[in-house]
Symmetry: C2
Subunit: 328 residues, 2 copies
Amino acid sequence: MKLATLHDGSRDGRLVIVSTDLSRAVHAGDCAPTMQVAIERWDNVVGELQQRYVALNKNQLEDAFDFDVSQAMAPLPRAWQWLDGSCFLNHGELMQKAFHLDPIADADTIPLMYQGAGDDFLGSRDDIRLPSEAHGIDFEGEFAVLVDEVSMGCSTAQAMEHVKLILQLNDISLRALAPREMKTGFGFVQSKATTSFAPVAVTPDELGAAWSNARINLPLKVEWNGKWFGHPHGGEMNFGFDELIAHAALTRKLSAGTLIGSGTVSNADRAAGSACISERRAIEMIEHGAPKTEFMKFGDSIRMQALLPDDAELFGSIDQKVVNASIK
Amino acid sequence: MKLATLHDGSRDGRLVIVSTDLSRAVHAGDCAPTMQVAIERWDNVVGELQQRYVALNKNQLEDAFDFDVSQAMAPLPRAWQWLDGSCFLNHGELMQKAFHLDPIADADTIPLMYQGAGDDFLGSRDDIRLPSEAHGIDFEGEFAVLVDEVSMGCSTAQAMEHVKLILQLNDISLRALAPREMKTGFGFVQSKATTSFAPVAVTPDELGAAWSNARINLPLKVEWNGKWFGHPHGGEMNFGFDELIAHAALTRKLSAGTLIGSGTVSNADRAAGSACISERRAIEMIEHGAPKTEFMKFGDSIRMQALLPDDAELFGSIDQKVVNASIK
């Protein structure tokens, strides 16, 4: 099943079911007016939503309409909790090598994770409004899972049953602000701007065999200003989402609607390219002694798509521009 | 004006107006069924709420009822964004001295702040359910402000008009888990458990002269297992809440209902005691070479009250126990 949220003037929008080919949609109905309500009542509503999804795909619903991606908000327009991992260790190792950083202790056995701001996500076509190019504007292509309520102390084995939906996102990052914040030990506040999401969230069965080992085993195609930037594969994630959920739930329950991200997708094979600029710059520093690629400028565009084996877009695409927030 | 949220079976509870002496309450009504709705529509609803508050204090409302603090949730039971500062530098300096840590660069000019989990706050009488005493269970007495929507780039001068309510909280912390998380640079996930709040949020005018210089100039009385632990004064905060708001809004807007905390209240005068155990332990390490005070055990109680000059409880009190989460 595929779900999206359309603008209706409210902060939480209106939940719709989207056809597999992303062409048609239908309102989810009173049982689940918003994504947050759907995830809070998941077991009670999934049957009805699934029935309508099947009928939508068969073109049997008279109240269906064309799915207009430009009207879609983030599938969950705001989250009560947004936790983001950094679980492709290749990325961290490149950064350490380039910047001569000390390795993070236990990074191969305990997942890195930060608490993010979930109060205001962007849709896939929304402009990324930022105040300064000097902040080092970067994208980060990631996958995420949306869970229903997870009890404190949930085990890795129990974690998988809580994964209800899978999403794809752009974790917009401000690289010039991050080193100072990391040095404090307090994590990211100014250096993580608003996060944007591909238009459609999908149930795990939509991935078929690509949902295995608690990972999204698909390439994430990233284009910057219309040019190939990378197509790293999600299967190389060093921790599964089951491990991320158990990690986050060690000392507290996770409320229904908690989003957990993978961190920027990154592969050891250099031919796969990267899903963020800072990683390409790190590779340039390692190979040439200095970075050649600059960060994003106002007016730049970023496009991301996770592709199924038949090249179909699983989540739709992220396709957005960076704009100068000081120009109204 | 004083506001609280009563349990009604929902996650967001029902907003009530509470009398100045905390004895009586009345439902806020349809204009503001929940605290989140109230803060999102603040300018449109504050007049009506304020009128009812005046009438409640004059005992003129037939639908008023006794305010039962045991039925109160956190004033905002969950927050779309919870940002917590560490803005009493005396606290950080004691920790650095005790643990021989390097000083944090620019700590006196840029406020320390982390992104916290706001999905599930505790009320003032709720048990603090935790899985292990070995995690180093600690309290942290703090103040916080609740803001309406703050635009990206908001200045310190503009910030004050966004402060609509003031709260008092216990930022429950797990000290054995924090050093590893801080070393990663990614901030706190496992080491910050659910945060609890005093029952009543108040508008700044309730503080009278104690709300000045963007600080809460009141002592916070802390009792652990019924014994005095400290009464540090909020006026010694090294950054004002105006500076915290501007800091947080540098690269993104803050949605209405963002909560911003002060960090544990801490005074240079040792006679003021402390608002968290880790600080007392740091003082013991500095003075005696080793900590003497242990962290909290299951069954321990913690009580916090901010007192007005006439000794009235401004926010009501936090009065809760730590319990073993593995015992149902």
